[in-house]
């Protein structure tokens, strides 16, 4: 009796697992009971042959291979890392690359080792995503002078020929978001829910946002909250994003700017559940990536990582890799279904602001360093 119960428990457990894996025509979970020895063999044998076919021939100079390493973020975060990965994939397709692959870093100590995994296979272009990887990228560039590195969000203090920092004027798109937020707000209170202030681009977004809002309404109240955790959790904490957004809304905010990977997405989705609250996304046009937030998502403060990565990869393939810093495009995303909610006056103001930012007659008030 006891054994039968145990067996049933085991099977139930397995059934739960299979169900949890998305139910893609699962294999029958029947071979559970006895197979201890088989496993040992399974695990030990198949090293060699498999590895060889996986390595391809990236070491061949004529063969283009593009690799991407994230910091502890994930390539399906629907914003930052995902846009970089899409850029790498599209570049690979356009340039006819033989291999395009990514590694999500699990342990912050492994940045260098993960870059080396690609470098040692002879990859030609390695995209490292995130400010936190800056040092490891520069170090790797010294070790592998023949490989071009694209460092997303990594401002280069000294220009190296084989590292290009893909950087953005986040403060400018943040400023536009702030102008939009203050123009839409009825309550006179707007909020921002942000990844950690350890990352300068996040601070740039927020400072621009605040000054943009103040430029429209000098008396506006701004509730800005940075994630208190370290780099390891700040961008992967949607629960914190949601509760922080809810708090800001209960304190009167009626526009929420969510900036910080999955953390920011949590804030957007939470805002969508409150009537009369607008939300603004970040990095990519999040209308496409966070459909749960359509109810409130009026626009996104974009930094166009995807085309930036494609441009730099193309330059690298053509032997025109610039080195130093490369400024990618930034700005506001379309309003999509909320086109009518944004009055012509606001649109004109945004256009004027954009022009002013471009010709330098308007400054965002963000001054790093």
């Amino acid at each position: 009796m006891k054994r039968i119960m145990l067996l049933l428990t085991g099977l139930l457990l397995l059934a739960m697992l299979v169900a949890a894996c998305g139910g893609t025509a699962a294999e029958p979970p029947a071979q559970e009971a006895a197979p201890t020895e088989e496993v040992a063999e399974e695990v030990v044998e198949p090293t060699e042959e498999v590895m060889e076919e996986a390595s391809g021939d990236c070491s061949d100079e004529a063969v283009l291979c593009i690799g991407l390493v994230t910091d502890v973020g994930e390539v399906d975060d629907k914003s930052f890392n995902q846009s970089a990965w899409e850029g790498a994939q599209q570049a690979a397709e356009a340039l006819g690359a033989a291999e395009v692959n990514f590694i999500e870093t699990k342990d912050a100590k492994d940045y260098g080792a993960n870059i080396a995994l690609f470098a040692d296979q002879g990859y030609d272009i390695i995209v490292t995503v995130g400010f936190a990887m800056g040092e490891a990228t520069i170090e790797a560039a010294g070790t592998y002078p023949d490989i071009n590195f694209i460092g997303v969000d990594q401002f280069q203090g000294e220009a190296l020929p084989n590292v290009t920092g893909l950087v953005f004027h986040e403060d400018q798109s943040g400023y536009l978001a702030g102008v939009l937020a203050a123009s839409l707000s009825q309550s006179g209170t707007v909020a921002s829910v942000l990844g950690t202030n350890l990352v300068p681009p996040v601070v740039a977004f927020n400072e621009g946002y605040k000054n943009g809002a103040l430029s429209v309404n000098p008396d506006i109240t701004i509730i800005d909250t940075y994630h208190p955790g370290g780099l390891d959790v700040a961008f992967t904490d949607p629960e914190w994003g949601a509760t922080t957004a809810a708090q800001a809304i209960s304190n009167g905010a009626d526009v929420v700017f969510g900036a910080g990977g999955k953390t920011g997405n949590g804030a957007l989705i939470e805002s969508a559940g409150h009537d009369g609250v607008w939300c603004i996304g970040v990095d990519s046009d999040q209308w496409e990536t966070v459909p749960e937030a359509h109810a409130c998502l009026v626009s996104s403060a974009m930094k166009l990582i995807t085309p930036g990565v494609i441009d730099l990869a193309t330059m690298s393939a053509n032997g025109e890799f610039p080195g130093g810093n490369f400024f990618g495009a930034s700005g506001l995303a379309p309003f999509h279904d909320h086109e009518d909610a944004v009055s012509q006056d606001i649109k004109d103001l945004l256009d004027a602001t954009k022009a002013g930012l471009l010709d330098g007659s308007i400054t965002t008030g963000y001054n790093p360093g």
Partner: protein
């Protein structure tokens, strides 16, 4: 039946020893295999080839000398935190606070490493290690004293002290001890002096050798000294120990301090041997995984080493597995969780391999929770 030849006696003894070893390792071993099996099924269901994935995992962990080095590097702090948890266990204490003690040890060692200049390496590195360990011991002293004098349960106290440690270290790394070198904006301490670095001998990190030595010392302390005997007696039955004249209060505090020392020492080794500075987030989970390692090693000092090596190998190989087989990095966590599940629910494993319980090798989880 009159006289058994001496030869046979020796043979019997050998068979007995083998049987005893098998008894103690069979459950963890089968648990590992079951964990890998379920992981393989998961890999298969998610569309990857389990053979290819495990092949890549093994290649990433043992395929090259550098891979072996990385496995050892990843295993080193886990040996220390595993020893810390296992040691406390012997006195019936459940030290969930290895993470906090490790963080404190790591940052204090970093401070000694970067702030003191001009010492020769032969003094500087050992000094930083020792002070890191002592800082961990001090941090373990708190829950020990609170337990003895107020009855506050060490599980609760150590869990809460982990958060205190995270915030103390975050503050120090972003405040008084922050790296002020030009261009740095992130929270971290300056790099340690070269004289405080722990070298790598060929492909063997010296820290790992320390870890093995620590396991031997802990074993010796527990099983070959009076102190160890008293600690184990307290763990088996605190009331009886008290009645027998053992000063239980002192033993509890001392045990928590030694446990904290081990964890803090592990943090110091990590700082001085791998990271080269303290940086928040870089030691995440090392102490918590010590609990897994200790349970998987059946709280035996020598069991901790293979358990830590297994976890280290999975961490070292995880990137290679992503790279070659396109497997999500979380799969290794899932496998670890299942291994732990089968170790904890050893009745399933024992039923599978038809092994009967014998009381002396049971891990008494309850003595940690229900203790007095």
């Amino acid at each position: 039946m009159t006289s058994v030849p001496a030869q046979d006696k020796g043979k019997d003894r050998a068979i007995g020893a083998v049987r005893r070893i098998w008894r103690s390792i069979s459950v963890p071993l089968v648990a590992v295999l079951l964990g890998l099996l379920i992981g393989g099924i998961l890999l298969f269901v998610s569309g990857a080839n389990p053979f290819e994935a495990y092949g890549a995992l093994i290649k990433g962990a043992f395929g090259t000398p550098v891979a072996v080095q990385r496995t050892l590097e990843k295993a080193t702090p886990l040996v220390f935190s595993g020893l810390a948890v296992a040691f406390a266990f012997k006195a019936g204490l459940f030290n969930i606070g290895a993470q906090g003690q490790l963080l404190i040890g790591a940052i204090v060692a970093a401070y000694v490493g970067f702030a003191i200049e001009g010492l020769p390496a032969i003094i500087h590195a050992p000094l930083a290690l020792l002070i890191g360990g002592l800082a961990g011991a001090l941090y373990g002293y708190i829950p020990g004293v609170l337990k003895v004098y107020t009855g506050a349960h060490e599980v609760i106290v150590t869990i809460m002290l982990n958060y205190v440690a995270i915030n103390i270290t975050d503050y120090l790394a972003d405040g008084p001890w922050k790296d002020l070198s030009p261009g740095n904006v992130v929270a971290r301490t300056p790099k340690i002096q070269p004289s405080a670095e722990i070298p790598i001998l060929g492909n063997i990190p010296l820290g790992f050798i320390f870890a093995v030595l620590a396991a031997i010392i802990v074993w010796w302390l527990l099983y070959r000294t009076t102190l160890g005997y008293e600690i184990r007696t307290v763990g088996l039955n605190a009331s009886a120990a008290q009645y027998a004249g053992i000063r239980v209060a002192r033993m509890v505090i001392l045990t928590m301090m030694i446990s904290g020392f081990l964890a803090g020492f592990g943090g110091a080794v990590e700082t001085l041997g791998i990271v080269g500075r303290y940086q928040p987030g870089f030691n995440a989970g090392l102490g918590f995984d010590g609990i897994t390692v200790a349970l998987l090693g059946k709280t035996s000092p020598f069991g901790v080493i293979p358990a830590a090596l297994l976890m280290g190998a999975m961490r070292a190989g995880a990137s290679q597995m992503q790279f070659s087989a396109g497997v999500a990095k979380e799969i290794t966590d899932v496998i670890t969780a299942f291994i732990l599940f089968f170790v904890a629910a050893d009745v399933i494993v024992k039923w599978l391999i038809r092994q009967r319980d014998s009381d002396d090798e049971r891990i008494m989880l309850s003595s940690g929770w229900g203790g007095n």
